[in-house]
């Protein structure tokens, strides 16, 4: 433990009085169990020496619940960055071109609308944007995403994603937790529970500027999984991303003073431990202060973008007020991923439901895409040039798509029946389309990918079998995909 701290801190700040094996032997008048003993000593082993437990099992080292685990099989990706477009971006105006829709603008939809709809809709509404082929693969992308379009040869489009809930709240919960009416752990929690984290000084699951509406915390909550696997929020959607910071990570004291304080605390706790007899939870809590101290050193460094070059800043659009806010989130995501954070979510939403164009599709979607297009492309470029894209899975999408039929003449309603998400990097086929919607883009009809299937696929890419990654709670085994889900193996490179 002394070594891992002094790497980050100058000598003065290393803890002076964390119990060592010798201290414990010297001070303990009583015998103690092997368990508690190994807890105290585990922190002293370097990461390489630690035995890795299998996915979803308790970590070999009980004092480090985020210790990395061995996946079920060889993973294609090590980590995930989820670019969440809140509100439901229209697949019909971005990545799923429908010539028949363009042709039949203003006509009636020639088949039935779903039994349950969110709002009243009218006739077919064509996309106001042009689609052109891009890359070697010739993928069609609309004018809304000119920068992302340059990366189509790395992108695997999932055109047949579908969910079941037509309201934002239900759909967000379904997408994030697999359930719209029960409290279930979010996918980031499952992933962290399954694989642990590659960096013990950082949370394993970070969500940047998440939205508090529509399920709120439940979308990054660990639910019944142990608290170690909850998402750590930085900022909220209603605030600019330069205020996205880990809570309580700023010391009110100079580091030296706080170090001195923690040393005294350690002496208090050491004495209490001796008086109580070795109790695992007491020892673990002593460790947690040391981890907190390291975390508060590391997190602010990562959150501080001032060390990035101007060129990198430009790549993410930090030089432009339109792209700056989301660009900063993308850059943070890269920095966390680079440091081994397992699951990073980035949310694009202002203080409204940003992508929710029930009317004024033209202005709304144009504004939204102008904020995210360049930063997303920048993220892909940056990950690639750093050699991170191969092992980092980037997932893009919203909680549903939008209807090909018009609402309020110039908008589109929610459409969970068929919509597009895309993946890049992390072992998926580039320049590839998986699944399809019907001629108007209303329903997914080919290689239908339910949200459960999406989850099964994400876990599969990380080397996890969604049927085996289970947690026993209230008398039964739970999993992210409930009782269904099938990994889409066709998309794997």
């Amino acid at each position: 433990m002394n070594t891992s701290c002094s790497e980050k801190l100058d000598g003065n700040l290393a803890p002076a009085a964390t119990p060592t094996r010798r201290d414990i032997l010297k001070h303990s008048a009583i015998g103690f169990g092997h368990m508690a003993f190994s807890i105290l000593l585990a922190g002293q082993a370097s990461a390489g020496e630690q035995e890795r437990a299998p996915a979803g099992a308790a970590p070999a080292d009980a004092s480090n619940p985020l210790a990395p685990r061995i996946p079920h099989f060889r993973p294609a990706a090590k980590r995930i960055i989820f670019l969440f477009m809140k509100g439901g971006p229209s697949h019909l105006d971005t990545f799923d071109f429908k010539p028949q829709l363009q042709k039949d603008d203003g006509k009636e939809l020639p088949f039935a609308k779903p039994r349950v709809q969110f709002a009243k809709t009218g006739k077919l509404l064509k996309s106001p944007w042009k689609f052109t082929p891009h890359g070697k693969s010739g993928m069609l992308v609309s004018e809304l995403f000119p920068h992302v379009a340059k990366h189509v040869d790395e992108i695997c489009f999932l055109h047949s994603v579908h969910g079941t809930n037509a309201a934002h709240g239900g759909a967000l919960l379904k997408l994030h937790t697999g359930s719209d009416n029960f409290v279930r752990p979010s996918m980031g929690s499952w992933v962290t529970f399954g694989l642990g984290s590659e960096n013990e000084n950082l949370p394993g699951f970070i969500t940047i500027c998440p939205t508090l509406a529509h399920g709120g915390v439940k979308n990054w909550s660990n639910a019944f999984l142990p608290a170690y696997y909850q998402g750590t929020p930085l900022g909220v959607a209603s605030q600019p991303s330069d205020r996205a910071r880990l809570k309580y990570a700023r010391s009110r004291q100079p580091a030296k003073t706080q170090r001195r304080q923690l040393d005294l605390l350690s002496q208090f706790n050491q004495k209490h431990l001796e008086a109580s007899g070795l109790e695992q939870s007491l020892a673990a809590r002593m460790q947690s202060f040391e981890l907190a101290f390291r975390m508060q050193t590391e997190m602010p460094e990562l959150e501080d973008l001032s060390g990035e070059s101007a060129e990198t800043g430009k790549l993410y659009g930090l030089d432009n007020p339109i792209t700056e806010d989301f660009g900063r989130q993308c850059l943070l995501a890269r920095r966390f991923s680079e440091q081994g954070v397992r699951f990073v979510q980035v949310t694009h939403s202002d203080s409204k439901v940003q992508w929710d164009q029930h009317s004024n599709l033209l202005n709304g979607h144009a504004k939204n895409s102008s904020e995210v297009d360049l930063p997303i492309a920048g993220l892909l470029t940056d990950l690639k040039r750093r050699g991170l894209l191969d092992e980092t899975l980037v997932l893009w999408g919203g909680e549903f798509g939008r209807t090909p039929v018009a609402e309020n003449n110039n908008g589109r309603d929610h459409n969970p029946q068929g919509f597009t998400m895309w993946m890049a990097g992390g072992g998926v086929k580039g320049g590839f389309r998986y699944g399809a919607t019907d001629d108007y883009g209303y329903y997914a009809i080919e290689d239908r990918m339910h949200v459960h299937d999406l989850h099964a696929t994400l876990l599969h890419l990380l080397g996890l079998d969604h049927k085996k990654l289970t947690y026993r709670y209230a008398g039964r085994e739970f999993r992210l995909t409930d009782v269904s889900g099938e990994a889409a193996l066709k998309i794997i490179a």
């Binding site: 009583i30 015998g31 103690f32 169990g33 368990m35 088949f111 039935a112 349950v116 079941t164 309201a167 709240g169 239900g170 009416n181 949370p203 508090l212 509406a213 529509h214 399920g215 915390v217 439940k218 142990p226 608290a227 170690y228 209603s238 809570k247 990570a249 010391s251 009110r252 004291q253 003073t257 706080q258 304080q261 605390l265 002496q267 208090f268 004495k271 209490h272 109580s276 007899g277 939870s281 007491l282 673990a284 809590r285 002593m286 981890l291 907190a292 101290f293 975390m295 508060q296 409204k352 439901v353 019907d438 209303y442 329903y443 997914a444 009809i445 290689d447 209230a474 008398g475 039964r476």
Partner: protein, 811 residues
């Protein structure tokens, strides 16, 4: 477009889009048959043998034959009779008509609810085979009998320990054990097991440790230095018992033990799940629970009120005198709800489901919710049982309507007087408003000006005065009090079984009733929902579960672990009791005391077991590392509320005012609209139980320290240790404020360094510092004082004390 599902040629390319009617397959390359002849029969059977049988064997029979481990959807495909009769959803095949055959729906994945086979869709070729076979009339030579559907054996189910009746007499109290100090009767149950395993007997805790444990456990606050001193120096033989009684009589008791019940009742001040809307009157239920705990309301009455308070007509006083039974049914209403669910029938059934599941977990510790879609996989609860219970809640009005955003039911609590006053004021208000309008019209006519700016100064002044009066009246007009409460529907309804939980596929009709395994078969009234009968049945003295479940929870809240560890699940997958006789004995004691929870507390608290030391003895630990048999007291971290309240308390900042709402928005208003702005305030310094509980966005301090999720019954909170907890104590404003206040308190009450140091230990740890601690801490203080001055040094020292394990853990 790269299409990737064409393994067997492209003739079925992109056929059968989900919303379209099934296409006919005129171009199939299979033998087509005309009118049936003997030759046709033979051909048909050949076709079956050649194509269909192998396909069924390979892809279907693993789950759909008599030999299957569990038969999927109760559908058998290993005989003609099997598919003719069909499974839960009815006949699988309509010979001659693929379009009307459920089997085709399933293999074509026409609906998310029914996609077969589950491990991957059949190839278009295989689908074509089955389609053609059905079109031919589904010739099938397999004449074997289909087995009967599996059903639950309730008789055998009743043999499980939890469903066994409590018996005619309480279990016999074991004899005193030689070599173990005598305690009360309760101790003997535990000592018997300990003696069997040769546990060394342990001493009781010292008085300072004991009073701290007792007060934190009952009142959620540490004792004052004076309290400790009095107790330590009390020479009377019943010093401890007096202390127990005193704490049980404190109003602080209900705030802690009411909170335990609120965990069970999944209490919150918002609906959570999707749109987050304020349950602006939920606090009335919270205060009712605290009141009930403090009054030691008998647990049977407490149960009846929460399930059927509105129906307890004969026991009810005029509403304005005693609203408690009405308020109590808020229990049924305040669960998490998806209020913007577009499918209204689904929303209604989801709300009913939440109630059935909650009642099951809360009173029976049985997961009834599992039987919504299929017979319970492990416990003897069938879907019939589920829908029998669901009928009771379907016959209860929980919601005013289900249109998004749906409105829950509320009942007026206003007295006649309040109503009259409200109406009078309303009338006045309306009159003034009329007067204002009339005056404006008059003035317009007189001046010929439309806008008020064109009126004369006198007229404008007149209008202004009038407006001021209206504003005053509006301010004086308060909302009439209402409570979240349920009522019965005019005519109760029975429900049909929802196959696979889906309200679109309905099965047999089930009369309202209770789970069969628990042995009640009486019919419920035709003119009421049956909630009252449900409540009475639950608290009938011979009910196997209710008393066991509540005494087990109380045990858990005292000791950190239940006699049945899974306090909310007494089913097959739950834990077994470590001391079954003790559990039953306690259940008897509770019933004999007329369901007095405080009597049960007394019994437990005055046991020697409760008073044992927590110090870990090596020999004992070797025999029982996890302390399952309670040879000692387990060390536990305070719960979230106790942490916050104790910090405020030692700092002298705790506001002991009770009750009321602290929500910042009105009833039914959005806590969050789409803006993600959390306006909820947690800066009140009242006890934690009174702070708002916002589902989806709990107070982060609570969230950090393992607060209940507030959505599901949880009487067994976890206790995790994570770094963000440390960060909160190290760096938060709250922590700084508390440390500064504690430092102020200490510096103000004593003048010399030694007594100040001593006081800090007395306040935070309920003990005196040792010699080593004195010299260590004082050298720390001196050193820091030189660096940062006296006050800052003391702030730092106080914070250190409050972050320590000794402060946060109860031993």
């Amino acid at each position: 477009m790269k299409s990737s599902c064409l393994p067997n040629g492209s003739f079925l390319h992109r056929w059968l889009p989900r919303p379209f009617p099934v296409l006919s397959l005129a171009i199939l390359a299979f033998p087509l048959l005309a009118s049936p002849t003997i030759a046709d029969d033979r051909k048909g059977l050949d076709y079956f043998e050649k194509y269909v049988r192998p396909l069924l064997v390979n892809r279907c029979l693993k789950c759909h034959s008599i030999g299957s481990e569990s038969i999927g959807g109760n559908l058998l495909l290993d005989s003609r009779q099997g598919w003719t009769r069909g499974g839960d959803l009815g006949p699988a095949i309509q010979p001659g008509s693929p379009a009307k055959s459920l089997l085709m729906d399933a293999i074509l994945h026409r609906s998310d609810d029914l996609e077969m086979p589950p491990d991957g869709k059949l190839s278009p070729h295989e689908i074509g085979i089955l389609q053609e076979w059905i079109r031919m009339g589904a010739p099938d030579p397999r004449n074997g009998k289909a087995s009967r559907q599996k059903s639950i054996n309730f008789e055998r189910g009743r043999e499980f320990w939890a469903f066994q009746p409590l018996g005619q007499h309480p279990p016999k109290v074991p004899d005193a054990i030689e070599g173990y100090p005598s305690g009360n009767q309760l101790d003997r149950f535990l000592q018997t097991r300990q003696a069997e395993l040769g546990f060394p007997s342990q001493p009781t805790a010292s008085r300072p440790v004991l009073i701290r444990r007792l007060k934190l456990g009952l009142l959620g606050l540490p004792p004052d230095p004076d309290e400790v001193e009095q107790f330590v120096n009390d020479p009377s033989a019943d010093a401890y018992e007096k202390r127990v009684d005193r704490y049980l009589a404190s109003p602080r008791y209900g705030e802690v033990w009411g909170r335990h019940w609120l965990d069970v009742a999944r209490y919150a001040d918002s609906n959570g799940l999707d749109e987050n809307i304020a349950y602006g009157n939920a606090w009335r239920y919270r205060d009712y629970v605290i009141r009930s705990m403090n009054a030691d309301k008998p647990f049977d009455q407490f149960t009846r009120e929460q399930l059927a308070g509105d129906l307890l007509a004969s026991e009810r006083k005029p509403v304005h005198e005693n609203n408690d039974p009405i308020i109590a049914t808020g229990f049924l209403s305040l669960g998490p709800k998806v209020l913007a669910e577009v499918d209204e029938t689904k929303m209604e059934m989801d709300i009913v489901d939440e109630q059935v599941d909650t009642v099951g977990r809360v009173f029976l510790a049985v997961t009834l919710g599992c039987a919504r879609c299929h017979d319970h996989k492990f416990d003897p609860i069938s879907t019939r049982d589920y829908y029998a219970m669901a009928g009771i809640f379907k016959s209860t009005r929980t919601m005013e309507h289900f249109r998004k955003i749906a409105r829950w039911n509320e009942v007026s609590l206003a007295t006649q007087q309040q109503k009259q006053a409200w109406e009078q004021l309303q009338k006045k208000l309306e009159n003034r408003q009329e007067e204002l309008k009339a005056n404006i019209r008059k003035e317009q006519a007189r001046s010929g000006q439309q806008k008020e700016t064109g009126f004369s100064a006198a007229a404008r002044k007149n209008l202004e005065t009038l407006r001021k009066k209206i504003a005053e009246l509006e301010a004086a007009q308060t909302e009439l009090p209402t409570a979240m409460s349920v009522t019965d529907l005019e005519s109760p309804v029975d429900l049909r079984v929802h196959i696979r939980g889906n309200h679109l596929t309905l099965g047999e009709n089930v009369p309202r009733g209770f789970p069969r395994v628990l042995g009640h078969s009486g019919r419920l009234p035709e003119n009421q929902s049956g909630r009252l009968e449900l409540a009475n049945w639950l608290v009938s003295p011979k009910h196997p579960l209710v008393a066991r479940v509540i005494v087990n929870r109380i045990w858990r809240w005292h000791f950190g672990r239940g006699i049945v560890e899974s306090t909310d699940n007494f089913g097959k997958l739950g834990s077994r009791p470590t001391h079954p006789e003790l559990l039953d004995w306690l259940a008897w004691k509770l019933i004999e005391s007329e369901w007095s929870i405080k009597s049960l507390h007394r019994l437990i608290l005055t046991s020697r077991t409760y008073q044992l030391t927590s110090r870990i003895d090596g020999n004992l630990q070797a025999k029982d590392d996890e302390n399952l048999l309670q040879g000692r007291t387990s060390i536990r971290r305070m719960e979230a509320e106790a942490i916050r309240d104790s910090l405020l308390f030692v700092a002298g900042r705790l506001d002991l005012r009770m009750g009321g709402s602290q929500l910042h928005v009105k009833n039914r208003e959005f806590l969050f609209d789409h803006t993600s702005k959390d306006l909820t305030r947690y800066d009140a310094r009242t006890r934690s139980v009174y702070l708002p509980v916002i589902r989806n966005h709990l107070y982060d301090v609570f969230q950090l320290f393992d607060y209940s999720d507030a959505s599901v019954t949880d009487s067994n909170r976890s206790s995790t240790t994570v770094a963000p907890q440390a960060l909160f104590l190290m760096n938060s404003e709250f922590s700084a404020e508390i440390s500064e206040s504690l430092a102020d308190r200490i510096l103000a009450s004593k003048s010399n360094p030694a007594s100040r140091h001593r006081l800090a230990y007395q306040i935070a740890f309920s003990r005196e510092p040792t010699y080593d601690e004195i010299s260590r801490d004082r050298s720390f203080l001196r050193e820091m004082q030189n660096e940062m001055g006296q006050k800052s040094a003391w702030n730092l020292f106080c914070q250190t004390i409050l972050m320590s394990n000794e402060f946060l853990y109860i031993r």
